[in-house]
């Protein structure tokens, strides 16, 4: 059977690309939309259709916002001398929900990942350094994820920012691999190696 052009199958094909949605639940959602009130499907469609024009990146930190500056960057009570660097907007959101960090964020939208096409030339280091200098940031907290790319990025930034005269700390990341294998964090490691690196 040729499915192309069938609106239900088209919707299903789009829905299965969502995280955590398989073929089965995509079909369930599609049929739910058909059974639900017309208003609902239309409102959802409208909301999705205008998402990319209504939401943009904060001019200062890169988080998603509908205005020029996001709520945090626009808030004068947030400290400007401490910056928390994250990979994705949702990482900033997760830290924000813990309600302990009072500085501002910087969303990289990338990790150093040469295998994935982000080598040092593509990595957005310049924008970060510029912002640090412009805003007089004195301390940077590196909150990239504890993955291979996240760890490489944190060491890359720690070294780059150190030569720019900024102190960095690494967020405690819970040991992701657990069990019998234990690890040292990159900043501790960087300190342990400082003497040797200057050789």
């Amino acid at each position: 059977m040729d499915d192309t052009g069938d609106p239900i199958n088209e919707l299903v094909r789009l829905l299965v690309r969502l995280p955590g949605v398989g073929e089965k639940s995509a079909r369930r959602i599609a049929f739910h939309m058909l059974a639900a009130e017309v208003d609902y499907a239309q409102a959802l469609g409208q909301s999705l259709a205008t998402l990319s024009t209504r939401v943009r990146r904060c001019a200062s930190c890169g988080a998603y916002t509908s205005r020029e500056l996001c709520g945090i960057c626009a808030d004068p009570r947030r400290a400007t001398d401490t910056l928390c660097v994250v990979a994705r907007p949702m990482d900033a959101d997760a830290i924000e929900r813990a309600r302990v960090f009072m500085g501002r964020y910087h969303v990289l939208h990338a990790l150093l990942d040469p295998l994935g096409g982000v080598g040092p030339a593509e990595f957005p280091l310049g924008a970060l350094i510029e912002r640090i200098q412009r805003e007089g940031v004195r301390e940077v907290i590196l909150a990239t994820p504890p993955t291979v790319e996240g760890e490489a990025t944190s060491l890359y930034l720690a070294e780059a920012l150190r030569s720019a005269g900024v102190t960095t700390t690494r967020i405690a990341s819970g040991v992701p691999h657990g069990g019998e294998l234990e690890f040292v964090d990159p900043i501790t490691l960087g300190r342990a190696l400082e003497g040797r690196r200057s050789l």
Binding site: G119, A152, R196
Partner: protein, 368 residues
């Protein structure tokens, strides 16, 4: 010790196998058939479901049947009173795995329960082949016995590929190269520590197996000489001091990806001095040592899959091997073209493999 017992096997679209559904014996199973019928493929399907690798080094595309869209293997395994279902579906480009109907979150969860040890003609490479074959032996054991090893190994490989890619650039960015020293040291040191922790047991077990089955009193020794240290900080320092070498060679030279497990036979490199028979004995001894180490660490006895033993071992050794397996209580699977070998396991359940299909065969006492 709880033996791993495969209680159900269903295979379709894997190599030449079609509609295979069998209920094995708890202790001993013999797969009989002429050349090219699918005997080895059955063992390969079992071990693939248990280890997610082909012991013949085949890619997914090679495993999926020429006429099939996908290969499917279902393995039901009983151990420690629990029954688990392992399900693997392969297409030429994808792989889906389910443990008890769910995607396993951690490798050890998956590999923990269904350990198999395979001995097959290609295992001569353990002695004669390159270091990668022997590293694979260590890795095969360690993913099952050290929590986090599989993940560490994967992360190490990824960091290594990234660092080497940066080293191959026309003008390598030193800061970016060295940024990978951290993940490389973190995961590499963990790999080294795990490998070092298991070698002693492996040697002792291999020596014992050599004595019991081969009646050999040769002294073998096995050494894992890691060029990188198992201490993460020392490891990173070593990478830092070797970076100019790496830049010159455009690749990361030192690390567990380049280590070897050296085998010596009466004081000399086994590859050079062992005769053909001794080479086979040593390879089998290493496989039995694999079984022993997994058994010792996990308290479960892996199933033993013996492919074509009659081409590898003489009758006396086969008899002693079967006696040892019986004593261990391991579930054993034997493939052979020779009914005489099957009769060495008189209580085994026998299956006839013909053109990718499997049917129960009469017990050995009935065969001529």
């Amino acid at each position: 010790m709880t033996p791993v017992r495969i209680t159900e096997l269903v295979v379709g679209g894997f190599r030449n196998l079609q509609g295979v559904r069998l209920t094995p014996d708890a202790r001993a199973n013999v797969l009989l058939g002429a050349n090219g019928q699918g005997k080895t493929s059955i063992l390969e399907a079992i071990d693939y479901a248990a280890s997610l690798r082909s012991f013949r080094g085949a890619t997914r595309a090679q495993l999926v049947g020429h006429e099939a869209d996908a290969a499917q293997v279902l393995l039901r395994v009983e151990g420690a009173g629990l029954s688990h279902e392992y399900r693997v579906k392969l297409t030429r480009t994808t792989r889906d795995i389910l443990l008890d109907g769910k995607r396993p979150e951690r490798a050890v969860e998956y590999f923990g329960g269904a350990a198999c040890v395979v001995f097959q003609p290609g295992d001569l490479e353990l002695v004669l082949g390159g270091p990668d074959v022997r590293r694979r032996l260590l890795d095969r054991i360690l993913v099952r016995v050290v929590d986090g090893y599989g993940e560490a190994l994967k992360s190490y490989a990824k960091a290594l590929r990234a660092r080497n890619m940066l080293l191959r650039e026309r003008h390598p960015d030193l800061r970016a190269v060295q940024a990978y020293d951290f993940p490389l040291a973190r995961f590499g040191a963990a790999v080294v520590r795990a490998r070092e922790s298991v070698v002693g047991e492996l040697v002792r077990a291999a020596q014992a197996a050599l004595g019991e089955i081969m009646k050999s009193s040769e002294i073998i020794s096995v050494a894992y000489r890691a060029k990188a240290p198992g201490d993460q900080v020392a490891y990173a320092a070593m990478l830092a001091s070797a970076v100019h070498n790496d830049l010159a060679r455009r690749t990361t030279q030192i690390g567990p990806h380049a280590d070897d497990l050296t085998l010596t036979w009466s004081g000399r490199p086994a590859r050079v001095v062992a005769s053909q028979g001794q080479t086979r004995s040593l390879a089998l001894a290493l496989r039995l040592a694999e079984l022993h180490v997994i058994e010792g660490r996990t308290k479960t006895t892996p199933a033993l899959l013996l492919d074509d033993v009659s081409s590898e071992l003489d009758r006396g050794r086969i008899e002693r091997l079967f006696a040892m397996v019986t004593r261990l209580g391991a579930q054993v699977w034997v493939t052979t073209t020779d009914p005489a070998i099957a009769s060495l396991l008189p209580r085994a359940k026998r299956f006839e493999v013909t053109d990718g299909k499997v049917a129960p065969a009469p017990p050995s006492s009935l065969s001529p």
